[in-house]
Symmetry: C2
Subunit: 328 residues, 2 copies
DNA sequence: TTGTAAGCGTTATCAC
DNA sequence: GTGATAACGCTTACAA
């Protein structure tokens, strides 16, 4: 296997002590320029590459953060990741990415491993199936940021979008278009995100003097939504508010199978504004979250915590925006 | 900041030496069961979590691999990542993910950082703008696997798909449908992938006694393709073979803007078979690559190398499959 | 200006 | 069965 050059090797080559090497490599002042030159030369010849792990052991800082997502192949998280990475790069951090596949057991394992790796901090979008692991992080005072969801009655670092407003805007838009029988295809309500969007939906309906029409909770994924809509073939509705754009795209497709047109027969509003929402036909009216920014902010919040610039919990609520396209 | 419990702390608590603690924690045989129990108890009470970095320093093994992608938000890579992760989980490896954004400078930096982190191995989809960095990895005998592309005249560990065949199948399918004026919207030809697909296209055309009709090289991304097709509005063609499905989706959209219907006026074939290829309307005929499997294989090849089960380079060529849908 | 030695958390080697 | 001690690669007091 590979063998790395150490400062010891350089020291021997240059005929100095290891810490003279360290001095030269780290641009310390108290060193003779000639010695420095000699050391640097030796280092170059040998092809020295510093060992950041050894450094970490010394410092207690790994310059690495952990990111725990439900599913990084979901365009939402994929984009968030880019935002995190953008900032991480700026500050010289590496990222260990782990997906939970929406399995709480995986979430626990991921956190454990990340702590074993001594990552400086963690950015996590929790499954919310349970939150003992989060409590654990709190109890050991581990730096972490919750992304995408909001834990009520807690004092955590969080960045999430204003999903109540999003649900409200989406529904109001449908109502303004004259729709009344608005079906909501939602995610599971134990997730705060789904709950908030539903509450926004309810609020808008009420404002228009209507009762919430019909809401179903389904698991994530195109198939899941496609099947549900097929199943609800006989339900009478004139609009669908979807939990996310993938659902909306699935809805589009499902409605087509039984000859309904969008937006004429049924209006559709999605959520997230993933790029594919504007690639399909008709393009999808949706609630936009600035995902890249959400990732950046998550990192920044974590960074503030790590650099001890801030002690109190910080919660950033991202504004959302209704993007009107063809589907509603 | 956080402070971690060390085996020393446990030793003090249990009233034994640190290496007795190590013995207990690692299930070594030569230890009194009672002592072991006592130590384990102390470890639990203190909330001990082992430090994998310290262990790495000792072993010279980090149980971490680096993954360098052009863009992990591209559904192709997103899926590949899942495959890598699936195997990594199985073998107990963590993954540091870094994107290059198709910038060779970023690629160099990523590799450097990963080596500094002493990752056990690297899986990389190179930009192919240059390959000094790859040569460097070879020269230092660093374990790595090239993913998605093939370097001619080299002896590297690689996993890539049979893009010559893919290009051929796609084009042949269009020809069999009676299309002759087949436009190819390709990626840059300095990438072996683009080159292979083009060669497949040429071969099929020749077989049907035709000259390659028209091929353009453009950069990746929906916009890029959409604009190019709008630009080529006056070109006379009856089919498009797209470098990937995102291009195909863009083509669909662009053609719609000037009233051409798919597949009646223009047939379209994409490449990759990302999930969105079957979500859009019309669904896209495409060349399928098993992305998850490609990721798994990449890891397996790397793993074989790491466990020294294999010494010689291994190159796996994944078969591809034409998936016929509505667009052609 | 340079070298020596301790220490980061862990395991392995050797005595006891 | 258990405990010192060295070692992994590096930085940082402290000494020279």
């Amino acid at each position: 296997m590979k063998k790395f050059v150490t400062i010891k090797d350089i020291a021997i080559r240059a005929g100095v002590s290891i810490n003279t090497v360290s001095r030269a490599l780290n641009n310390k002042p108290d060193i003779n320029p000639q010695t420095k030159q000699k050391v640097l030369q030796a280092a170059k010849e040998l092809g020295y590459i510093r060992d950041l792990n050894a450094l970490s052991l010394k410092n207690g800082i790994t310059k690495t953060i952990g990111v725990v997502f439900e599913d990084s192949s979901n365009p939402f998280y994929a984009e968030v990741f880019k935002g995190i990475e953008y900032c991480a790069r700026k500050y010289g951090y590496q990222i260990i990415l782990m997906n939970t596949e929406r399995d709480y057991i995986n979430e626990i394992k991921a956190i454990k491993t990340l702590i074993e790796k001594r990552v400086d901090g963690i950015i996590i979008s929790p499954t919310q199936f349970d939150s003992d692991d989060i409590s654990y992080l709190v109890s050991m005072n581990y730096p972490f940021v919750i992304l995408g969801v909001h834990f009520e009655n807690s004092q955590l670092d969080e960045v999430y979008s204003d999903d109540f407003k999003g649900g409200y805007l989406a529904t109001k838009h449908l109502l303004d278009k004259g729709r009344k029988k608005i079906l909501m295809i939602n995610g599971y309500m134990y997730k705060s995100v789904a709950k908030m969007r539903y509450q926004g939906y309810v609020k808008a309906m009420k404002e228009y003097g209507l009762k919430p029409y019909h809401m179903v909770e389904i698991e994530e994924g195109y198939e899941s939504c496609f099947n549900k809509i097929s199943e609800l073939k006989d339900l009478d509705y004139d609009a669908i508010f979807c939990f996310n754009d993938v659902f909306a795209i699935a809805a589009l497709k499902a409605l087509r199978t039984f000859g309904k047109t969008v937006p004429e027969d049924v209006s559709i509003v999605g959520y997230d504004d993933i790029s594919y929402a504007s690639f399909v036909h008709p393009t999808i009216t949706t609630v936009k979250i600035d995902k890249f920014q959400e990732g950046m902010i998550a990192f920044e919040i974590l960074q503030e915590r790590l650099s001890e610039k801030r002690d109190k919990p910080k919660q950033i609520v991202l504004d959302v925006e209704l993007i009107v396209r063809e589907s509603a």
